[in-house]
Symmetry: none
Subunit: 215 residues, 4 copies
C-alpha cells in the first residue's frame, strides 16, 4: 500500500526515509532564510548553514536555488494557510459565524508569517509563474469555496440571498482586508490594535449582511 500510494521518484523507501528527513531539514533551514531575506537576499551558503548541511547536499536535493525556493513556498502554503476556516462548521446565528470567520481571517492575514509569504509571492510571482497558483489553490481558493458553501446553506435557510455565492464570499474577504491588512503590507501601523480589529470585523459583517441578508 505504502509503495503504491507513493508517486514520488524515490525508488526505495528506506533510503527515501533518510532522504525525506534531510529534505525537510533543508526546507526548514531555507524557510528561516527566505523568510528573513527574500529570494534574492537569501544565499545558498546561508541556507546550508541554517540547515546544518553542506552546500553540496543542497544541490543533491534541489537542482538550483529557484527549485528550492518553489519547494519552500509550496510547503509554506500547505502548512500555514489552511488553518482558519473552522468557524464555518459551527451551528450558530449567521452574524456570529461571519464574525468568527472575519476574526480568524483578519488575524491570519495580518500575522507576520502570512505577511512574509504574501510579500514573497506578490514580489516573485512574475518570475515564478507557478508561485501564485500554488498560493491561491492552498489558501484563498479554499477559504472562498468554504465560505461560498456556507452562503449556499444560508440561502437554503432563507437567511441570505445572492445570485453568486462565490463572488459574495470574495467580497466578504475583501472587506476583511480593509485598513489593517493593507497597512501592514506596506509596513505601516505594525502594532496590534484590538479596537481597530473589532471595527474592521464588525463593519465587514455589517456591510455584508446589509447587502446579502434577507429580513
Amino acid at each position: 500500500m505504502a509503495s503504491s500510494s507513493s508517486t514520488l521518484p524515490s525508488p526505495c523507501s528506506s533510503c527515501m526515509g533518510e532522504s525525506e528527513t534531510k529534505r525537510q531539514q533543508i526546507l526548514t533551514g531555507a524557510s528561516a532564510v527566505f523568510a528573513e531575506h527574500g529570494y534574492e537576499g537569501a544565499s545558498m551558503s546561508a541556507i546550508a548553514r541554517q540547515a546544518a548541511v553542506s552546500k553540496g547536499t543542497l544541490y543533491n536535493y534541489f537542482a538550483n536555488k529557484a527549485d528550492l525556493f518553489a519547494a519552500f513556498v509550496e510547503q509554506c502554503c500547505r502548512e500555514k494557510l489552511p488553518v482558519a476556516l473552522a468557524p464555518v462548521r459551527e451551528d450558530s446565528p449567521p452574524r456570529e459565524i461571519l464574525t468568527a470567520v472575519a476574526r480568524a481571517m483578519v488575524r491570519l492575514i495580518t500575522q507576520p508569517d502570512s505577511l512574509m509569504l504574501y510579500r514573497i509571492i506578490v514580489s516573485e510571482a512574475p518570475r515564478f509563474p507557478q508561485l501564485g497558483a500554488v498560493f491561491w489553490e492552498n489558501g484563498p481558493r479554499v477559504a472562498i469555496a468554504t465560505l461560498a458553501n456556507w452562503i449556499r446553506e444560508q440561502e437554503a435557510n432563507g437567511t441570505l440571498k445572492t445570485d453568486d455565492p462565490v463572488f459574495a464570499a470574495e467580497q466578504f474577504f475583501s472587506l476583511c482586508q480593509t485598513r489593517i491588512a493593507h497597512l501592514r503590507r506596506f509596513n505601516l501601523n505594525p502594532e496590534n490594535n484590538t479596537e481597530e480589529e473589532d471595527k474592521v470585523i464588525h463593519a465587514a459583517v455589517q456591510v455584508f449582511m446589509a447587502a446579502y441578508g434577507t429580513q
Copy 2:
C-alpha cells in the same frame, strides 16, 4: 492650451545645466530595470546601460543604490498614482459617481505599472521603512480622503448615512479589489476581461449602497 500650460520641467537650460535632464534619464532607465527585476535583482550596471550613462554618472546623481531606488519609487508614486479621482467632482447621481470611481480605481490598480509598483513596495517595505509611507501618502490616502469628502457631502444631501465616512471609503476601495486585483497580484488571470470588471464594479457599488445608502 494644453501645450502652453506645460512649462514645468526646467524652463531655462543654462541655469540648471543638464543635471535635471540626466537625472530624469537615469530614473527612466532605473524604472525599467527595477520594474523588471525588483530591488535586489536590479544591478547598477544594468541601470547604467539602460539609461545610457556610465556607472560613475549614476553615482554622481544618487549616492547609492538605495537612494536611487527611493527616488524611483517616489517619482512613480507622484507620477502614476494621483490620476484617477476626477469622477468624484462631477455632479451626477450617487450610483453613477460611485460606478465611475470604482471603474477608475479597478483600472488603476490592475494596470501593469501599478502592479509593478505594488509588488516592489510590498516586497521591500520591511527593508525600506519610508517606502510604504511614501506610497500611502501619494496614493491610497489621497483616494480615501477624496472619497470620504464626497461621502460627507452625500450625508448632507441625505443620500448616504454612515458614522465614519473615512472607514466607509476604505471599505469601498477594498470591495474594488475583489477578485481581479487580488488575482493579478498573484500573476493569475492577467488578461483583461471587461465582463468580470463590470461585475466587480457593479457589485461593489451595490454592496456599498445597500450598506450606507438611505433607500
Copy 3:
C-alpha cells in the same frame, strides 16, 4: 630684479600671484588629506574638496596625483624640518648644548607631523625615488652638518675628540632616537612622558661624551 630672479614658467607676475595663491591653497588642502590617509588612501576628490577648488583646477596646477604628492612632500620638508637646530649657536658648556640639541631633536621627531611625514616617506620611497632625497637634504643632512660643525669647533677647543665629526653627529642623532621615537613609529606608547624623554636625552649626552669627550 624681481623678474630676473624668477625662473618659474609663469610669464606675468600679477597672474602669477593669483596662481601661486591657488597653488598654496591646493597644497594646504593636499597636506591635510595626505597626512590623514597617506598616498593611496587620499583621493583627488577629497583634496579638491578640502582645498575648495574644482578637480579640474587641481590638474591645471599639477599634472597628476604623483606630482601633487611630490610637491606636498617637498613643501612639508622645507617648512617643517629646519626649525630645531638653533641651540647649537649658543655659547654654553658642551653638555648643555648637547642636551638642548637632543631635547629639540627628540621633540621634533616624535611630534605628530614629523611622524606622519616619516611614515609617508619611508612607505613611498621605493615608488617615488626623489622623495627620500628631498627629505634627507632638507632634514637630516642639515642637522648632521650643523652638529658636525659644532663638533669640529669643540675639537678646536679641545673639549671633544673624534676623527670623523660627521659620523659622530650621526651617532648622536641615532642615540636620540632610542626608545621613544622607535616606539612612536610603530604607534606604541603614543602618550608624552617627560621622565622618559629626559632619560633618553641625558643618556644620549652621557654616552656621547663618554665616547668623544676629552675627560
Copy 4:
C-alpha cells in the same frame, strides 16, 4: 638528519586536507604583492593572480583584505625577525660578542625583506593598531631582552657597568642603525658597502664600550 627532523608542516595529508598548503600559497603570493605595493596599493586581484588561486578562494581563507594583511605581517614577523641573536650565547671577549651582534643586527635591518616589513608596519601602524605590537614583540623586544641579559652577565663579571641594562641595550641597537639603516629606509645608498658597514659596527661597539665598559 636534516630531512628526518623536518616533519613539522602537516604530517598527515588526509586529516588536514590542502588547507594549510593553500593558505601558505596565498600568503606567499600576498607577500610579493604587499611587499611591492604596500597595503592600499595591493589589490586582491593581483594577490589572487600571484598566488595562482581564484579571488573566491582568497576569501575562503581570509575574511577580508585587512585580515589577509594581518596574517601576512604576523608570518613575516615570526619567520624573518628572530634569526640574528645567536652570537650572544658564545663565550668570547665582550668586544667580539658585541661586534658580532652589531654585524648581525646591521645586516638584518638593512636587508630588503626587513626594510619592506619596516616600511609597511611604520606606514600602516596608525590604521592597524595591533601591527606595531606584533612586530615589536617578535623583533625588537626579543633582541633587546637578549642583549640586556648578556649585559647583566657582564656586570656580574665586572666587564660592564650600567644601572639600566635594558636601556643600554636599546642604545646599542640605536647606534647600529646609524647611517646605513636610516639611509636605506629613505631608499638612499641602496648598494652594499662593506667598508661603511664595518665602520658603523665598530663605531657602535667603540661608543658603547666607552660609555658602559669598566676599565
